[in-house]
């Protein structure tokens, strides 16, 4: 069974894909059927395959023996200034900044707490201004020591108890 119409571009693409092993099982079987039934398709497939095989005549090239050495020597100067690490590098910098910030904050909090503790723990020495303010209290301390509570003091202050020695 042979058709006279020329092979279309799509048919050729399928034929090439078949030769390259890129078709699914079903597609490949369809192409195989065409090849076995149509001599023109068979000839087309054969010439495409031979064309491909001719590429084996291209000269093969091997790198020169010093290739690795020369490549590495060009890399050495690059070793120090490696390119920034992009998103990961930025994230790394961010992590360092957060860490440094946390350390700084910790130091400030520790200093403030330490100062407050020192103030609380050290014995307090009264200043001169406080002594002047409480002078009367200090002078009468020995009397106040005899008193149990403020209620008793207020009663002592009552006019009926001691009264005013007023002159008629």
């Amino acid at each position: 069974m042979s058709s006279r119409r020329p092979i279309t571009e799509q048919e050729r693409a399928d034929l090439v894909a078949y030769l390259d092993g890129e078709l699914s099982g079903e597609e490949a079987r369809a192409i195989e059927a065409k090849i076995s039934l149509d001599p023109r398709v068979r000839a087309e497939a054969e010439s495409l395959k031979k064309t491909w095989d001719l590429l084996d005549f291209l000269p093969k090239t091997e790198p020169s023996p010093s290739f690795t050495e020369r490549t590495l020597s060009r890399v050495d100067p690059l070793a120090a200034p490696a390119e920034p690490a992009g998103e990961e590098g930025q994230a790394e910098v961010g992590r360092w900044l957060v860490l440094a910030g946390a350390w700084g904050l910790g130091l400030v909090v520790s200093a403030v707490a330490g100062y407050a503790m020192m103030r609380a723990m050290l014995p307090r020495v009264a200043g001169e201004r406080e002594l002047v303010r409480d002078l009367r209290l200090i002078e009468n301390k020995r009397y106040y020591d005899q008193v149990d509570d403020f209620e008793f003091l207020e009663k002592l202050d009552h006019p009926d108890l001691f009264g005013d020695d007023t002159v008629p």
Binding site: L55, F57, L58, P59, F67, T71, L72, V75, L78, E83
Partner: protein, 218 residues
């Protein structure tokens, strides 16, 4: 995600080349040298097929490795390492081919091999194992195939080289070239048709006249 629940990154980590590249990324001593040694033959070979000039191929292959090294800290394994490597190679080769179109290069004659020693074509001529007629035919065929390849447009040439010499499937070529798989299928079909047109006289040569070179194992 794949059917087994693995991500593409997990799959990539199974690629031994990816693991070497991760060691390069971590600045492990000797890792980059290992990478260069492992890929230099393939890369220089592909570049030479693309450009048709051994010196230029080495320079560009070296540039590919330098770019890999420079961008090592940004490397994220998402596919096979070779796919990433040949994507860089493809970009550099296309730039070189386009710049060459603007500044035509005068090819060296066969006896001007330079510091890299005799080219394979020269070696073929002096190979005592084959007869003089076969040598001439082989050399002529080699030059014709080179000419046919040079006659393809840049993208067709890249697709052909990756498919033929790197054994890449359409999907991988599509990834390297930034195309769809369908576009690669069409590209390769047209490339093969163009090659056939350029090599018509050689396709039907007596297959015994010129022995097809053995496949390179590498």
């Amino acid at each position: 995600m794949t059917g087994t629940g693995e991500t593409s990154a997990q799959l990539a980590l199974r690629d031994p080349d990816v693991r070497i590249m991760l060691r390069v990324r971590d600045d492990e001593p000797g890792a980059f040298e290992e990478l260069v040694s492992r890929f230099q033959h393939r890369l220089v070979g592909v570049m030479n097929h693309l450009l048709g000039n051994a010196d230029e191929a080495e320079d560009l292959a070296q540039e590919v490795f330098l770019r890999v090294y420079r961008s090592r800290k940004r490397y994220r394994p998402r596919s096979k390492f070779s796919t990433w490597l040949f994507t860089i190679a493809n970009n550099l080769a296309l730039n070189a081919l386009r710049s060459r179109q603007r500044k035509p290069v005068v090819p060296l004659r066969a006896n001007e091999s330079g510091p890299l020693g005799p080219r394979p074509q020269e070696q073929m001529v002096h190979d005592p194992r084959t007869g003089p007629m076969q040598k001439v035919q082989k050399l002529e065929l080699s030059e014709q195939v080179r000419g046919a390849l040079d006659g393809l447009n840049e993208r067709q040439r890249v697709a052909v080289i990756l498919n033929k010499f790197e054994d890449m499937g359409y999907a991988e070529i599509a990834e390297v070239m930034g195309l769809t798989t369908k576009a690669v299928k069409s590209l390769l079909s047209r490339a093969r048709e163009n090659l056939r047109a350029a090599l018509t006289g050689y396709i039907h040569m007596d297959s015994g006249a010129v022995e097809v070179p053995p496949e390179d194992d590498e």
